[in-house]
């Protein structure tokens, strides 16, 4: 499959001090939905804006659709649809007028009506942008990217702050675009979004890729990809080591009075856990088991949660 976006040894240092991106390599295939997953301040936006040609990298090479920004900026602009984080479009223009404006910048745009329909904005076509809900505004932002009839869609945190229904609507829009053989690069700090939407993703922390692969691969890589979460009633049993010695436990994490055990085989660990609780004359107040998620991958890799500031 041909490569749509490629970068090597990408670095970006602000004011000679703050290293936002520290040596990043990416290769994104045509037709793929690729996610950059990471906490706030990890360097996701800096990375995507360098790939979009909006920021100059301090060093490193970028190639988009086989072209470089230094030599083919105009051509590339025609091929990319971009939705930035937090753009506030003119509030006193209508949805249709906004799309007409953006469509006028491209040589061969998609028709405004087609985009309005695809993003279910038809009913709001003649409303002022200022009167739209958060979800509708976000869909309009994506619409201004799709109006370009782009080959690559860049979405920087497209669903941040949206309600679950609006998020799902946006996911459908992205999948629709992918079905037309479009390439998508998105950033997010929601792991469920990354898990469901992305074919492949890179987890970014402190300006570097710390893991890369399909969501399934990344979870697979965890030794022990089941999580047993429980809480016990007795203070004296809140010693993590006790639980780490149970059969099949890979690691123990304790937070907010809960223990999280990463285990290989829940059916081996849970009976032993129950026996241990009984032996301590305590009882369980909470017990769940689940598949490990990207969140657990992230915690294992960094010792922190994705959403922590």
């Amino acid at each position: 499959m041909p490569v749509a976006i490629q970068c090597r040894e990408l670095r970006k240092t602000y004011d000679g001090k703050v290293e936002a991106v520290r040596g990043l390599d990416l290769s994104i295939n045509t037709g793929e939905c690729f996610g950059l997953l990471g906490p706030n301040g990890a360097g996701k936006t800096t990375t995507i804006e360098i790939l979009e040609g909006l920021l100059e990298p301090t060093s490193g090479e970028v190639e988009v659709l086989g072209r470089r920004w230094q030599t083919h900026a105009r051509e590339l602009r025609e091929w990319l649809g971009i939705s930035l984080q937090e753009t506030r479009l003119s509030e006193k223009l209508t949805v249709r007028e906004t799309l007409q404006l953006f469509s006028s910048f491209y040589r061969h745009p998609t028709s405004v009506d087609a985009v309005l329909e695809e993003l279910s904005l038809g009913e709001k076509a003649d409303s002022w942008v200022g009167k739209l809900s958060g979800g509708q505004k976000q869909r309009l932002a994506v619409a201004t990217a799709l109006i370009a009839n782009p080959r690559i869609l860049f979405l920087d945190e497209p669903t941040t702050g949206l309600d679950p229904q609006s998020r799902r609507q946006l996911w459908d829009i992205v999948r629709q675009f992918q079905k037309r053989n479009g390439t998508v690069l998105l950033t997010t700090h929601y792991m469920d979004e990354a898990e469901r939407l992305c074919d492949r993703l890179a987890i970014i922390d402190h300006g570097q890729i710390i893991a890369e692969g399909t969501p399934a691969e990344l979870i697979e890589r965890l030794t022990g990809h089941h999580i047993v979460e429980f809480a016990v009633s007795d203070q004296t049993t809140r010693d993590g080591h006790r639980w780490g010695n149970l059969p099949g436990v890979q690691s123990v994490r304790s937070e907010d009075g809960f223990f999280c055990l990463r285990v290989n085989e829940p059916h081996e660990t849970i009976p032993a856990l129950l026996a241990e609780v009984q032996k301590q004359h305590a009882h369980l107040v909470h017990l769940t088991t689940r598949q490990a998620s990207l969140e657990d991958v992230f915690v294992q890799l960094t010792g922190r949660h994705l959403r922590e500031e």
Partner: protein, 366 residues
């Protein structure tokens, strides 16, 4: 979401549109005008406010058939003699005298109610006047003349005078071109400077440069929107002046519009420079006011800058608003041809040109 099966390739929603070279510019201009039209504040500040100002000042300083100068006569034995002497002569209908106690007369004089205090006793007439107040100096001369000739002074030469309040020489005539110039400055600075920083703060500029939009089209559309507004501003103020205050427009309309356009573009350039790097609307607001403040005071909007000391005049004349106001007055009031204004045109071109060049060098899109 791993690709278990190849997704069917669906054609993009009909990509049949082909845009011409100038469609981007046309849309940018169209949307800018729509936005302005939908912003009630813009309509008020650009169109209504200058008219209100002209109306208010025009009424306050309207030409009267003859000015009546109020003076105070200090009550005393001779007060009635003064009144009699003043009333004895026909040309002194222009003086209105009140007889008051010395303290009340002085108070009235201090507060500006009276232009002059006259007291008369056995030694003669005593005037109290303020040399800094033109109407006070005038009243002193008038009253003195009246008293002297009533007392029997012979006129060396017979004179006659006509009070002039012809259109063309009144305060409102002076004011309208000044307001026009000030309005072009205000809307150029705010309409371009403020608007740009606002778009930068909203990340709209960044969003625009993420498209193939030509940056020159964007700036051109912004300047064009100023020119369209300029046409309306000029037309509105002139028509208002003509209809309400009988202002006579002596110069050619084309010359007025050309100077107006030059002023609008020049201040657009200064607005662009002011906005070239500011990230927040708060900081650009301060900058805009800082740039405009000296011109409000020195450039002869409300009163002639000739009142400032002579040594300042060359600097004042080098300000763009002074050049614009002077050129507008020369053309509107005196009917001067455009080519007589080359010096002032040069001042506007230099200010605008240097601003544009620097602004384009420093301009930040994000």
């Amino acid at each position: 979401m791993a690709t278990l099966e190849q997704p069917p390739v669906i054609e993009a929603p009909q990509a049949v549109i082909s845009n011409g070279r100038w469609i981007g510019y046309v849309r940018l201009l169209q949307m800018r005008m729509l936005e302005l039209w939908r912003e009630p504040e813009v309509i008020f500040w650009v169109f209504v406010f200058p008219l209100l100002l002209a109306l208010g000042l025009g009424i306050a300083f309207r030409g009267k058939p003859a000015d009546v100068t109020p003076i105070a006569v200090v009550a005393g034995a001779k007060a009635s003699d003064v009144i009699q002497l003043l009333q004895g002569l026909p040309e002194h209908a222009g003086i209105h005298a009140d007889v008051l106690g010395p303290a009340a007369a002085l108070d009235g004089f201090r507060l500006g109610k009276y232009a002059l205090v006259v007291s008369m006793d056995e030694t003669g007439v005593h005037y109290r006047y303020d040399p800094a107040r033109p109407e006070s100096v005038l009243a002193r001369t008038q009253v003195d003349d009246a008293l002297q000739s009533a007392a029997g002074r012979k006129q060396a030469i017979q004179t006659a005078s006509t009070a002039s309040s012809e259109p063309g020489a009144r305060y409102i005539d002076f004011l309208i071109p000044g307001l026009l110039g000030m309005n072009l400055m205000n809307s150029g600075m705010w309409g371009i400077g403020f608007a740009l920083v606002e778009m930068r703060q909203r990340k709209l500029l960044k969003r625009f440069v993420a498209t193939p939009m030509r940056r020159s089209d964007f700036l051109l559309a912004l300047v064009s929107s100023r020119l369209v507004l300029m046409l309306l501003e000029v037309a509105l103020l002139l028509v208002f002046g003509v209809l309400v205050f009988d202002v006579r427009v002596e110069g050619g309309l084309l010359a007025i519009l050309l100077i107006g356009a030059l002023g609008a573009v020049s201040f657009g350039g200064i607005g662009l420079l002011t906005a070239s790097r500011a990230q927040k609307i708060e900081s650009v607001s301060g900058l805009i006011n800082l740039v405009m403040m000296p011109m409000w005071i020195f450039s002869g909007v409300f009163f002639s800058y000739e009142r400032f000391p002579k040594m300042f005049l060359p600097a004042i004349r080098a300000l763009p608003l002074t050049a614009l106001n002077d050129a507008l007055r020369a053309i509107i009031l005196q009917g001067e041809p455009l080519h007589s204004q080359l010096g002032r045109i040069a001042v506007l071109v230099v200010w605008g040109g240097i601003s544009f060049v620097l602004a384009l060098r420093w301009f930040r899109w994000s």
